[in-house]
Symmetry: C2
Subunit: 448 residues, 2 copies
């Protein structure tokens, strides 16, 4: 794995290495482009394909869903088999290993507890003469979740999306999952059932996003769409943004570990690999102040990757996006880490908690050697749906507020309005809005 | 003005009347299309124009800003005159009427106080064996505000965007304003200076949004763009979404008044007109349970519009988007109001506060007869930057959290990890992620 020392290079050069391409700059692999050419009769960009699919679903509804299921996934979809039936839920329950089901229940409990503790409340404040100002926090009415079901199916993603929505108080949560050979992973269905998800649709890709955004005869229109997906799903979320809200535009998963000489090189290597095994586009980066640790981790990673079940994926990811950076000092290490704005940031140093106030950009921070990322992926409580690709500069981890909105409340009295009136009229007139001034004066309010 | 009674029609028909076209379905007026054909050499849609402008600014930076300023606005922009100078700020201060400046200061104080009261804090919770879970609320580093400067310039919009960003703790706030005859409205500059905005650029339209999203040699790249604008600005915000975050996609302004027989028809009429005078696309709707009030308001509006300074605009708006709906009862009135999800909702009833819990979708609620919308536009404290066009279903009023992000924190101990380990490994293995399981086992943690 590549080792870069800031002292042999420059901070600017290191930052260049940490910069991620924008999610819409990633080239499609050749086999995907060939498949798209076959399907659409032209070598369209991913954005062009998505605009076409979303436009068709918006206009034609279910008919477009059925057509694209056939064209893209070779699936015979119909309005009768789009929604998962009670029989299919029951079959999934019969298939589930009780140990896994018990673990899913425990995860649901932990995620629910953390999100309940986090929930903000509507609030009020008072002003002179009995006026009140406030802010109502109101749950969204209907939310749509996208859960990927391609190369791997993740019941944990159902939990990490749906539990925060339920805690927020969303009336109706629906879910779209692409089926594999006509079926959905049983644990995905079991998790959905345990959480009380109202409807699950066997639809994937940009079509699923469009269906939830605009509604079809079968799929209800939602207020917000959340959850991760491939590049087509992500571009579709951008395309429908405005017709509905979306949680974020996310890409491949990442880990960035900040470590000093006290870190255990075995732990660092194992944690980098737990990220790299996700997919070939995943990124695993170590930033350390210790050249010795850098060397040890590089050796350890090589050794461990060879024996992993998903070694081809992990090796490809490390080759492409694996990196070890040696920083001059911990201040610079954190500067680099904040610049990268990683999805997952682990801090493996002598006093990890002391560094927390210096973290400005990250999806989630894992503090100390007994907080490996898989703890957060499955069990601790915070959602594992996190911003990636440097977007932790501005996006938040998926949380209860993701599924709520804030509404201002203004309740004034005549005396309070009287007190504010002259200034309101002065500003309304300065902005040339005469009827604004008139609405005040008319109420028997003096304005000089 | 059109009066529609739900009992003569049906609830479904009334809802159809309340449905707003999507912001990307609005046809450009002919004169705009002709101007665009002249400039771009083809009858492009607004979305196509915006994609072209944003793409050019992303690739070429300042050069594209200069070219489009000349092409679209016939302005000679250069890298030397993009930023407002200290001399221009001083000239604006010299131009300002002290009464208006005093009113701006009062508005800034009120908006700051409300937003300070609203600010959420980072928080912690504990778990067994000394584990801690938390959530950090961190301000964004750099924010860009768009303030329109076309047909009218609104210093109040500077306050309502910038003060929440400052209260959030954003390090650097920059602003883009389209100049008019090479100048920016002096009160816009005075408000910016009073709030401590770092830089103001004389750039407008989709170009300004692209410049702040990707950065140029002159305009810095920001983390989030907020503020209202015309259809080109709005489509540009959608286009750059993902490279930066944005506040919302907003369209023309709206008021919806819920009133019973106790409401004063003069107040209702005046408040509808204060909305209608904004622009011809603005919407003013009354929903009442009282047929008598409906008649009186219709008469009163006709009378008042004739004497307004901006009567052409207000009359066009009422003709196009003015409506009075008579609901069967207050329950139905609120059902219609929530369906419309208006930007501003006024409640003028006998016991207005009692209806507040039934409000599900609105940008801001104005409770009772002494809370006219202009009070919120200028003075009360909550931001007047609000979701429109039915998007209050999912978007929030601009607020302190608009300029902050949430980062999860997980700090575990060996004993806590031991307690969770078996479930983590069970789930990781069920999802086929062996390296995730390995990262736990390796830490000396037993998993059976």
């Amino acid at each position: 794995m590549r080792i870069v020392a800031a002292k042999d290079s420059s901070a600017a050069e290191v930052k260049k290495l940490l910069r991620k391409p924008a999610f819409d700059e990633i080239e499609l692999p050749d086999f995907v482009r060939q498949a798209n050419s076959r399907i659409f009769g032209a070598d369209l960009s991913a954005a062009e394909i998505v605009r076409r699919i979303v436009g068709d679903v918006r206009k034609e509804g279910d008919a477009a869903l059925i057509r694209y299921a056939k064209m893209i996934d070779n699936v015979e979809l119909s309005t009768d088999n789009m929604a998962v039936t009670q029989e299919e839920f029951s079959a999934a329950e019969a298939d589930g290993d009780p140990r896994v089901v018990a673990a899913l229940k425990k995860a649901i409990d932990n995620v629910r507890r953390y999100h309940e503790e986090q929930k903000s409340q509507s609030w009020w404040t008072t002003r002179s003469h009995g006026a009140m100002l406030g802010q109502m926090l109101v749950p969204l009415s209907r939310v749509g979740l996208y859960v990927p079901g391609g190369t791997a199916a993740y019941p944990s993603s159902v939990i990490m999306n749906a539990v925060p929505a339920k805690v927020a108080g969303v009336d109706e949560v629906v879910m779209c999952v692409p089926p594999k050979n006509g079926k959905i992973n049983p644990y995905v269905l079991i998790a959905a059932k345990l959480i009380g998800i109202d409807k699950v649709y066997k639809i994937g890709g940009a079509q699923a996003v469009a269906a939830m955004a605009y509604g079809t005869a079968t799929v209800p229109r939602v207020d917000k769409i959340a959850g991760p997906g491939n590049i087509f799903v992500t571009l579709a979320k951008k395309e429908v943004f405005g017709a509905v809200d979306i949680d974020m535009l996310a890409g491949p998963s990442e880990i960035l570990i900040v470590a000093d000489a006290t870190a255990d090189s075995d732990y660092v290597a194992a944690d980098m690999l737990s990220q790299a095994e996700h997919d070939a586009l995943a990124a695993s980066i170590l930033i350390t102040t210790d050249a010795g640790l850098a060397e040890q981790v590089a050796v350890e990673v090589e050794k461990r990757v060879a024996v992993l079940p998903r070694r081809e994926i992990a090796a490809a990811s490390l080759e492409r996006n694996g990196m070890i950076i040696i920083a001059d000092d911990m201040k610079q290490a954190l500067e680099f880490a904040n610049y990268a704005a990683p999805e997952h940031m682990e801090i493996l140093t002598k006093e990890p908690m002391a560094l927390l106030p210096f973290v400005k950009n990250a999806g989630a921070v894992f503090v100390g050697e007994y907080s490996p990322e898989p703890l957060g992926d499955y069990m601790a409580g915070p959602s594992h749906v996190l911003p990636t690709g440097g977007t932790a500069r501005f996006y938040s981890v998926l949380n209860v507020e993701t599924f709520m909105k804030r509404i201002s409340v203004i309740s004034a009295t005549k005396d309070y309005l009287q007190e504010a009136a002259a200034d309101i009229v002065t500003l309304a007139e300065a902005e040339g809005l005469g009827a604004h001034a008139e609405a005040i004066k008319l109420r028997g309010i003096k304005t000089v």
